[in-house]
Symmetry: C2
Subunit: 642 residues, 2 copies
Amino acid sequence: MKNFERKIYLEDKPRSAAKEELLEAFQQTPKTEYIPAADTLGRITAEPIFARISMPHYHASAMDGIAVVAESTYSAHEQNPLLLKNGEQFRYVDTGNAIPSPFNAVIMIENVHVVDEKTIEIIEPATPWQHIRPIGEDIVQEEMLFPQGHTIRPADIGVLLASRQTKIPVVKKPVVTIIPTGNELVPADAALASGQIIEFNGTVFANFIKEWGGEGRLHPIVKDDPEKIKQALSQAANDSDIVVINAGSSAGSKDYTVHIIGELGSVFTHGVATRPGKPVILGKIHDKIVIGVPGYPVSAYFALEWFVKPLICKYLQIPEPKRQTLSVKLGRRIVSTMGAEDFVRMSIGYVNGQYMANPLTRNAGVTMSFVRADGLLVVPPNEIGLEQGTVVEVELLRPLEEIKNAIVFCGSHDLTIDLLSAQLKSLRTDMKIVSSHVGSMAGLMAIRKGEAHVAGVHLLDPETKQYNISYVKKVLAGQDVVLCPFLKRKQGWIVPKGNPLCITNVIDIAEKNADFVNRQKGAGTRILFDLLLDKVGLSSEQISGYDREMFSHLAVAAEVKGGTNAVGLGIFPAAKAMELDFFPVADEEYDLVMTRSFYESENGRFLLELIHSEVFKQQVKKIGGYVVVENTEPKLLTRAER
Amino acid sequence: MKNFERKIYLEDKPRSAAKEELLEAFQQTPKTEYIPAADTLGRITAEPIFARISMPHYHASAMDGIAVVAESTYSAHEQNPLLLKNGEQFRYVDTGNAIPSPFNAVIMIENVHVVDEKTIEIIEPATPWQHIRPIGEDIVQEEMLFPQGHTIRPADIGVLLASRQTKIPVVKKPVVTIIPTGNELVPADAALASGQIIEFNGTVFANFIKEWGGEGRLHPIVKDDPEKIKQALSQAANDSDIVVINAGSSAGSKDYTVHIIGELGSVFTHGVATRPGKPVILGKIHDKIVIGVPGYPVSAYFALEWFVKPLICKYLQIPEPKRQTLSVKLGRRIVSTMGAEDFVRMSIGYVNGQYMANPLTRNAGVTMSFVRADGLLVVPPNEIGLEQGTVVEVELLRPLEEIKNAIVFCGSHDLTIDLLSAQLKSLRTDMKIVSSHVGSMAGLMAIRKGEAHVAGVHLLDPETKQYNISYVKKVLAGQDVVLCPFLKRKQGWIVPKGNPLCITNVIDIAEKNADFVNRQKGAGTRILFDLLLDKVGLSSEQISGYDREMFSHLAVAAEVKGGTNAVGLGIFPAAKAMELDFFPVADEEYDLVMTRSFYESENGRFLLELIHSEVFKQQVKKIGGYVVVENTEPKLLTRAER
């Protein structure tokens, strides 16, 4: 497609302006379909709905008793009981029965004295229409039950049926065709070669659209061939109300999309002033809106919410649902791009009675940052950043209750934490563990800043040769914390199966020029490695890959698996999980540090019980490479003592 | 079933205690089913889910550029450019491409100078692993993606697919069989005779259960025959996880249910201390929970929420979702039963910057009270009532936004208000009119108490012979309000087709002893009727049915339709809608009274524009019986003036 001149940069149109234009340009008239009332849950009425009959639709008895003509009972009195003949002067009725004419009142069975088969006696007159449900007491024929644009709930369906509305006019779900493009894409079930990527964005889009009330139709993957893309686009523009095309929306040499949409129709926006999500295309092909969204998952999800959701709501004639918001305190400074709206995924923890929030990775390629996010911070274009400690409003991505009850675990990564988390969930549906793998030192810092309840640490003190205690005293001086002995675990060299380079110690790594896979600064494992280097008088410069930082044992193992010359330092279960070889280096103490308030809280007590339960200990032993510390006496370290 | 001794009264067990016992008794082990990841939206994981592969699963280029061996580029410098041969010393790579070994770094295409087909030149060294996405940057193989009990959202599905989890273990939806019983019940589509009721509760139940994550199965209607009920119950207990049987749960002579459950299994609760919803049965038949819920729809819906929803949540292993709450001010006193929890359906309006709430009818037979409710007030057992003006917490039954944007219309009922409401919704999806038909005087009172934005009034002053103005001045003295002339409409006698009693005036009604259908006190129409009586010197005692009160013109017409001797006073469109005869009595002025703040608000202006629009005027003319007031100059009545 050399005839397409390469577009070097994108617009920076404000999102609101782009959205306004888009909504203006979207002129699909909603279609109506008639469906059985019983199937209308969550659907939206296309017209006002009026009652076709009343409920009750007849004069109904409100009591078990007898129906009488009120006027004929006026003489009844204790001194002058009145006898009534069955069939002529009264009829027996139960609650809900119709009142036969000429009767116009009901006397409760309790006030009726039965004389014989055909005769009863009353000693009190009835007033006209007493104990009779008037016609339409609940629903009156011809009254408007719902206006158009009403979202139908379970109880609404009862009213529809009761008033004889059996076929309901609802707005047809707008059809959104999703076109995934890219030579590297393969379907979820296909075999996967290096360099290939599983196509999952399309399926995610379809589910977002379903949630918003539309019908997402996933088109098969289209190769990066302008002709094929052209075909797919014009076909989709004919068959659907909205078209979404994924990837190729940027300004690279192979980004044909914008040119093709321009050729087939018109492009009115290419690039919005947001991070992530900037490379968005908004255009039209034969009066159908076509939206080009970026390939990076997180950018794509945002673009979809900004531009597809509003269209669906406009089509359905419902207001755009808003997310619940929450005021949170920032645990870290947030830098933002001037002139662009920043959408920062945040993790939120309820610690020491306040909501603390921290940004997750800003990398738009990391879908887990979206999955793990509790909330969304939108930094306006004119802000260059927000200082640590600032209180800001975030949109919630989870129910508040869920965030409030979560145990925030921070610090060194260990696989037993996942076990603990699963165990907890199985016993307490309202609780969960949210863990972020930031390393031992960062874990202690999180406790200090009141961002976490629990930190997992394994920090060896070169002087005392003791684990953890000295670091806790140093970093958390002036705070009441509890140090809970947790596990002993094996650290060692993780190498490819068969150990091709025959790595047995740190000197081998240097001499054989292996590709070392390191951990981030402040990680206990990195500190251990530095000590090992130190012991033999090696410097980090002599280790190739020393600057290559991973954030968990599994990540190290995954990298080692990726290269034949690779070696990493990590725990046994990680090596085992990835089927790699492992050579023990040290037995280390992996302990849990908790704030005193959490330790003493109901959740804290519950967590400790779990840790000390036989079930959990057995599961840990099963993994291998661990020794569960048996006499685990938690150590309370109070401010006062120091 | 004479062998069943009649049970006279029910227990008054606290709801919380009954619920606890029930949850304790419910021991169904959740079943697991494996479904394609793409279909898991909203489903709940039955086990922790771990990543089966990493994403990326290979070393991927993060840039368009060339892959090189970093160590071989160290000599590159501006003064000493380095030439590299394609294929041997470098390879072209695009973003996302795999990095072929032995290469371990990527140089951006922008920093590459192409010499010829096979040669390029660089003037800067590369550092190892630069611009290469590490394996597992997003998802690391073997990491726990979700614990069990996680509700799957659209983005979660992407992670499942990307990590090669294609079949997901989710909790099977619990099967809840719903058994409707009653001789009076007929299916929604069947012909309807007097005394018969459409079965709709079952369908409503099924939809509630669907919303809560269960699978509701609606059993055909069962007659009030103990043998048939017995069959249905034991069959259902075999086939389902939970059984719900509707009606027959009380203590009447025909309420077999409790005895049958007792016979087939055990009953542990019969009657809870709630209003409504008291007659509930909680029991067990061959280890399956059976719940008997009352026949009155509103009682039934509550019982279902209290006792079926928690079982479904327990089965699904998720916490019970809580409703959003809101502080509101009570517009009226609320009386409550001592010793019982009262569940009061409330209408809520956002007027003059505060949320005012009023109770809707407490009648458990009125489903519309549940449909119309904005919120739910739970009055604890130890309260005997709540004073007007008290601020209380209510559970919201609608999104807060919807309540906040609603225009609260109060006062006399007129069919054009429905028109207006439909018109408004079609133009502004975020606005709606909530109207309650309380009569003209009550409408003015609502304005005075700050409970409504707009009141519809038609009040004739016998002295001045003028409509509305004098009443507004009297009732709303000391307030700034706006009186907007709206319509002239025909009031007249509504009589059965052919006018069998030949009613032409109020004297006929008395002399021919017709069944008069009156309106509630304070309704403009009733005031008009009283004036008519007064004119001819008749007293209300001489009118049979004078005390028979309806709350709208349609309700009057519906009643008239129900009896051949009936007559009512009302507006022409009501008679027309019900195909009744109509004899005009008076042309009256139906005006709108608004608070000044509403009149001047954006919503207020929008409403007036609508009223004055040609479209609306045409629609009103089409109904007939109206004259649209043309020179409608709203009259501002300020406190100062009086």
